[in-house]
């Protein structure tokens, strides 16, 4: 490994981190379980399962007001709120309860046929070619379609969203101009949607939020916008990444691909194992008061990264943490977080991920990476393949 100092100059937006995250977490877990970084305003980075759990559960000391650590400042200081992920109790509890019914298992089950149809449709478009980009031609389309349907917005706007989300999550945190422009684009788009629903109510999530109440009052436009924005930010890149990473593993480990083909019953535990080993999402908190946490002098206002993916590879919490074991028995992974902010979309994400993988396995013959050295991983707090070329034999 190069001599970049990850203990005191941790940088989640560096290419170095994108390419070497597993090794970096391991090194930190062994040598310096809580790293830091001056570049990000004195940010702290715990890497152990037990510390990450403790912090996620202590919502008094660690606030969610800024779930993304940007170079230039805290999200909340710019007036941007995306509840419930950026909220603390008790407001968090009320906002989350509003959304819960939309993501309960029964609601999600009803969307499954749409995902099956979509996955097959996408596969039809490349099955005769013998190759495709699993990130661009397959994985990224599935979550966009479903979230558009839930919000009641047109499919055609999907490409727009993907671009805005990409800009927002990967470029904006280190480039304040991109941050401002993408936010403005989101805002103008949703402002129109909200205005439109006020005149023509529909059976969709935006209309629901317009009529929803918290503590006997209607939501402000700002809150409706924030909620919609969050569903896009939280639902798209995350699921895209999880699907992509799972395909990447199966394409580079043919042994595992064969096991899954021969024994479809392990799909459920295999999906959980992919989620554990390639957890895409790292969240962030803000320290609310000066504390000494495990010997680290944390100050009020310091940002703190919560790399759930690192927790998932902590040897103290998982046997053979580095190994992918498709039928792992004991798997209390934190891919969806832990505690009160536990992912609201987890039932949806699991369904999309299972359908995407199962359909691919059923429809395609054995597939592998076209060029193992030419896979591109994203930078930032959502980690997944952004270029993932796959080849397979065409049966004529």
């Amino acid at each position: 490994m190069s001599d970049i100092n990850v203990k005191e100059s941790f940088d989640h937006f560096s290419q170095y981190y994108a390419q070497n995250a597993f090794e970096i977490w391991k090194k930190l877990q062994n040598e310096c379980p809580i790293a830091s970084s001056r570049k990000y305003r004195n940010m702290w980075v715990p890497t152990k399962y037990s510390d990450i759990e403790e912090i996620a559960r202590d919502t008094d000391t660690f606030s969610s007001r800024s779930p993304v650590v940007a170079e230039f400042g805290a999200m909340a200081d710019f007036g941007l709120q995306v509840p419930p992920i950026s909220a603390d109790p008790p407001y968090h509890t009320s906002f989350r309860r509003l959304l819960l019914p939309f993501f309960a298992p029964s609601r999600i089950e009803a969307l499954k046929d749409t995902v099956v149809y979509l996955a097959n449709d996408l596969i039809d478009s490349f099955i005769d070619n013998g190759e495709f980009d699993a990130a661009l031609d397959y994985a990224q389309h599935i979550p966009v379609k479903i979230i558009s349907e839930m919000l009641g917005i047109r499919d055609e706007d999907g490409d727009q969203f993907r671009m805005w989300v990409h800009n927002f999550l990967e470029l904006a945190p280190t480039d304040i101009t991109v941050a401002a422009t993408s936010l403005l684009q989101f805002f103008e788009y949703f402002q129109k949607q909200i205005e439109d629903r006020k005149i023509n109510p529909k059976d969709d999530l935006i209309t629901f939020l317009i009529n929803a109440q918290i503590d006997d009052r209607l939501l402000s436009d700002q809150e409706i916008f924030g909620g919609c924005l969050l569903l896009l930010l939280a639902g798209i890149d995350t699921t895209w990444s999880a699907i992509g990473a799972s395909i990447w593993h199966l394409a580079s480990n043919l042994e595992d691909q064969r096991s899954l083909r021969n024994d479809p019953d392990i799909l459920g535990s295999a999906i959980e194992e992919f989620l554990r080993a390639f957890a895409p999402v790292t969240m962030a908190r803000e320290v609310t008061k000066d504390v000494d946490f495990k010997g680290c002098p944390m100050k009020k206002g310091d940002p703190l990264l919560l790399p759930f993916p690192a927790a998932n590879r902590d040897p103290e919490a998982f046997e053979n943490a580095d190994k992918i074991i498709l039928n792992r028995e004991r798997n209390r992974h934190f891919a969806f977080g832990v505690g009160i902010h536990r992912c609201l979309g987890s039932n949806l994400a699991r369904m999309e991920l299972s359908v995407a993988i199962e359909t691919l396995i059923v429809r395609l013959p054995e597939f592998e990476l076209k060029n193992p050295n030419d896979v591109k991983w994203s930078v930032g707090q959502v980690r997944g393949p952004r270029k993932l070329e796959i080849k397979f034999k065409v049966n004529r």
Binding site: A104, E329, F334, S346
Partner: protein, 73 residues
């Protein structure tokens, strides 16, 4: 007899239990789990119940062992 317990205060609705022991848990309209009926289960389900315990990220599931008269403990 063994009884399944789910701690309502800990459960965050990950729904891992529902995937493993769907015959023993109910999921409500918000996604939270509770035990079906009185929670008693047969020893033949013990492996799966333990699996659910080992996969609940919130540590919300446990087993309560009831000592009845004819149990030789």
């Amino acid at each position: 007899m063994k009884k399944l317990l789910i701690d309502k205060d800990k459960c965050q609705g990950h729904n891992r239990c529902a995937a493993i022991i769907s015959d023993l848990v109910d999921i409500d309209g918000l996604g939270f789990a509770s035990v079906k009926l009185d929670g008693h289960f047969d020893d033949s389900r013990l492996i799966d119940v333990n699996k659910a315990i080992d996969n609940c990220p919130e540590n919300a599931i446990s087993i309560f062992v009831e000592l009845s008269g004819d149990d030789n403990v």
